[in-house]
Symmetry: C2
Subunit: 209 residues, 2 copies
């Protein structure tokens, strides 16, 4: 019953903050204003969120679920990069249950360069974990560091690339003001990715002229 109260106050503060930032802009919105609207003291605000940024960005870092991680690791397709992008983006998009709130968050973030870069940085923070995922998949496929000496680097670069594509997909989705499902944008992004990287799931004959 205590947890319930915690959840409601948290939601109240978040809504107040996002709404105010949407109205006056992020930088013009002071923490005191948020506290007034959220009916808590400033100290309580910081107990909940720790910073003004986090109340807009959302507190939970967007990590894939355990099930999604396992699916990725056991995937046998040759397109590791595409699969990873899909896994990350799915987690990232499914992370806020309230669609209207999500839309407002995004609007604020898009109008505030500082927040936009922080969000990218947040995805990048999970890079180490993504590298582990890729290495696990390699291992599941029988590849290890004795056969490929720079396997670690290969995993790292795949993650770097994936973060780049996710960045692209998220930007594209939100630049169109959330038109279409995330899955559509994601699929077209991966298609584009394959075209750009000359990736061929099955060796095509027409590549020989």
């Amino acid at each position: 019953m205590r947890a319930r109260k915690r959840a409601t106050t948290q939601a109240t503060i978040e809504r107040a903050a996002v709404s105010l930032a949407l109205k006056h802009g992020y930088e013009k919105t002071t923490v005191d204003m948020i506290c007034d609207a959220g009916m808590v003291s400033q100290r309580t605000f910081f107990n909940y969120f720790g910073s003004k940024e986090r109340v807009i960005l959302g507190s939970a870092p967007p990590m894939p679920t355990n099930a999604a991680t396992a699916d990725f690791i056991n995937g046998t397709g040759p397109d590791v990069l595409g699969d990873l992008v899909e896994t990350i983006t799915t987690a990232f998009v499914n992370h806020e249950p309230d669609a209207a709130l999500l839309r407002s968050r995004r609007a604020v973030i898009r109008q505030t360069p500082e927040l936009a870069s922080k969000e990218i940085a947040r995805i990048a923070e999970a890079e180490d974990q993504f590298v582990h995922m890729v290495l696990a998949r390699f291992q599941a496929q029988g590849r290890n560091e004795t056969t490929t000496p720079d396997l670690q680097d290969e995993a790292k670069i795949i993650v770097s690339l994936a973060v780049g594509v996710v960045h692209f997909a998220v930007r594209k989705w939100f630049s169109s003001d959330l038109v279409g499902t995330p899955q559509e944008v994601l699929r077209s992004s991966i298609q584009l990715l394959r075209r750009v990287t000359h990736f061929h799931p099955l060796p095509p004959t027409e590549s020989i002229q």
Copy 2:
């Protein structure tokens, strides 16, 4: 003669700041400490650098020179992504003339996650310009939006990928404490990139089994 004085005071402040941050850590280093060591008032410090971050990161954003940009645009090779990575990374690395200072800057940045993400964000800030470069190259090669409707998206995703790889290359170079030349790291990174993306500059016969 005025410009000379400006340059020396700027250099003095920068050295003081980096040295202090290296000794006490970035967060424990206050602006007042830097001002004392740099023999300027706090107000002057902010006139020069505008923020505590920028005195560590270096004030100039790492953009390719005009010549390098032209070289990229007129490049005819099929590997747009590799060429772009090379262009960006070269600009990024050649940007600080003082090698010792650069090394110290990097050490501080590596120890301070906040600075590390800001630096990535700074590269990403130039994304629009990179997109223009890629589009210009496409145009030089006779591709335009009538032949490929989503050419703009293709350019954007190439830039996103390139930023990812640059991120990887920079991290790798500095994680080895600047062992080897940047070019070596860059070349091996691009090689890795090609392997990961299954990119083949010339259609190889062995891709057909």
